[in-house]
């Protein structure tokens, strides 16, 4: 470091090394996703990157596989119900959380995000026993409840963050002009928190779509979600069809990221 007299000569090599490191780290982050998308378009018979020629045949193959398509449909259905229920429950909880202050508010936040902080494995094992006891073991309803629970914090965090941006004075003004609580909510608060609410729904849907461990333990008789079906497929067949299925899942998450950017901006969302 003898060249420290000139800031330029000192920083040059360090910055170049740092830049190379950053590029390498992003390659590490993106490589697995890029490989999957690439492998899904292969014209060959093996999962391989770079792909052997280009074709869409593995997508056709995917849509001809009953087990995978049934899994996809089940995941979409459970995800949609999860999104609607968590958005409603989280909206109500966020409205209630607004009137708390100080330490109580902190505890409330913590409680609402518990399913995110406790490992999925523990919740899944506990739920397996509990659903068996209340005779909902191995039913779609039980699995649905597990997904709602696990996705709730994502909806709550997004909606609560949006609620914090609404100035309290607006509510007071609305009330002093004679609006009922419901009118204030529908005409003042709801339009303002709409982007946050939508984002919460998207996060909840995507989280539900991706859940594996809890679905494995709670899976209903004869029903598979897409990740469960994909795991079995990878274990027994390992064909590019799996890459096509995984690409659909990646597209969904990229779509989610794009919508979130449009709605609230990624920087504020994360």
């Amino acid at each position: 470091m003898s060249g420290a007299t000139s800031a330029f000569s000192h920083q040059g090599p360090v910055n170049i090394a740092f830049g190379a490191l950053i590029v390498l780290l992003y390659v590490f982050l993106m490589a697995p996703l890029v490989m999957i998308v690439g492998a899904s378009f292969t014209g060959g018979l093996l999962i391989d990157f770079p792909p052997q020629g280009l074709s869409l045949k593995w997508y056709f193959e995917f849509f001809e596989r009953r087990d995978l398509v049934d899994g996809l449909l089940m995941s979409l259905r459970i995800g949609a119900i999860t999104a609607v229920v968590t958005m409603t429950v989280a909206m109500m909880a966020a409205l209630a959380g607004q009137v708390l202050s100080g330490r109580l508010s902190g505890w409330f936040q913590l409680g609402m995000t518990l399913p995110l902080l406790v490992p999925e494995l523990l919740t899944a094992v506990g739920l397996l026993f509990f659903l068996y006891k209340i005779e909902l073991g191995k039913t779609v309803v039980g699995l649905q409840m597990g997904h709602i629970l696990m996705s709730f914090p994502y909806a709550y965090v997004s909606i609560a963050a949006a609620m914090r941006q609404v100035p309290a004075s607006l509510e007071e003004a609305s009330a002093s002009l004679g609006a009922t609580g419901w009118q204030t909510f529908r005409l003042v608060i709801l339009p303002l928190v709409m982007p946050g609410l939508a984002m919460g729904g998207i996060f909840a849907f995507i989280n539900s779509f991706d859940l594996y461990t809890i679905s494995l333990l709670l899976k209903p008789l004869g029903g598979n979600t897409l990740p469960l079906a994909l795991f079995d497929f990878l274990t027994y067949e390992f064909k590019p069809t799996a890459a096509a299925a995984a690409t659909l899942s990646i597209l969904l998450s990229i779509l989610g990221v794009a919508i979130v950017q449009k709605l609230v901006g990624l920087q504020r969302a994360f």
Binding site: L33, V118, I148, D210, Y212, T213, A269
Partner: protein, 284 residues
């Protein structure tokens, strides 16, 4: 006395959801771990300490527990080393570049763990891109068998958890005022001094939650070892799920889960105690 705000009633469905479908079931699991082994049902009527005695008396379970705790610690340290430069670089970015970098962190985060692990199966295949790159660079002569090794499990877990570490550290770094760094540089501090005395302690409020979250989630990660670990080595989560779904030993599986959770809490407590000084400095 002031009456509680009636709006609080709106929290009832959320509290009920978390209490009934999470707190109650986990309490239930703790109780289950003391049940006797059932003959007809997955568990018996009476209570016993036998499952815990069996775990503590068998070095096999000690070994698996230790492997799980150490693997998670390795994953956490590597995760921190990978995430810190990314978070640093991200915290400096503005405008469209920042949006792009956030998208690069958010897209893997929002893609399922199973899908991302599958990506590593392609990367690490015998004639896959990783082996071919290493051979082209002359680092290895023959392709390495990477699939179904502990190394790949660790690599894939780091990949899964990097976003969880990057985001809080990035937020902490963004809160450091640039004037603080300029002032200390002007007073003759070297880059290394600035990093050690200002940036590192002030970013600790982001490092701490990141480390805890990644460790807790990594200890209990099931999908990655199940898909990429192969049959040769066991981790606690694969063992637990095996007891529950394979052999239907619910009480014993619960006891394993409780032992795993308590060990995790102990590790987190030790980490918190060891870093208490750093945390204090960050507040000063």
């Amino acid at each position: 006395m002031r009456l509680p705000n009636p709006r609080l009633l709106l929290a009832i469905p959320a509290i009920a959801l978390i209490f009934v479908f999470m707190i109650l079931p986990i309490t239930n699991m703790a109780e289950m771990s003391f049940r006797t082994t059932g003959t007809k049902d997955p568990f018996g009527e009476d209570y016993t300490l036998a499952h815990y005695l069996r775990i503590f008396g068998d070095t096999y379970y000690w070994g698996v527990l230790l492997r799980s705790l150490l693997t998670a610690a390795t994953v956490t340290v590597l995760c921190l080393l990978v995430s810190y430069p990314i978070a640093w670089h991200m915290s400096k970015a503005k405008g469209m570049k920042a949006v792009f970098l956030y998208a690069c962190i958010a897209s893997p985060l929002m893609t399922g763990v199973l899908v991302r692990n599958f990506g590593w199966m392609i990367v690490a295949a015998l004639n896959g891109p990783l082996n071919e790159t290493l051979m082209a660079l002359g680092i290895i002569e023959r392709p390495l068998r990477l699939l179904f090794t502990q190394g790949l499990v660790i690599l894939a877990l780091v990949h899964v958890f990097v976003p969880f570490m990057v985001l809080p550290i990035n937020n902490a770094l963004r809160n450091i005022s640039p004037t603080l760094i300029e002032a200390s540089t002007a007073m003759g501090a070297t880059r290394r001094d600035v990093f050690r005395d200002i940036i590192l302690p002030l970013s600790f409020p982001g490092i701490y939650p990141g480390v805890i979250l990644v460790y807790v989630l990594a200890v209990a990660a099931f999908v990655t070892p199940a898909l990429l670990g192969g049959q040769m080595v066991s981790y606690m989560p694969t063992l637990i799920i095996g007891e529950l779904t394979g052999t239907f030993q619910w009480p014993f599986g619960s006891a394993l889960a409780i032992v795993l959770s308590l060990s995790t809490v102990v590790v987190v407590a030790i980490f918190t105690a060891l870093t208490a000084k750093l945390m204090e400095r960050s507040k000063a």
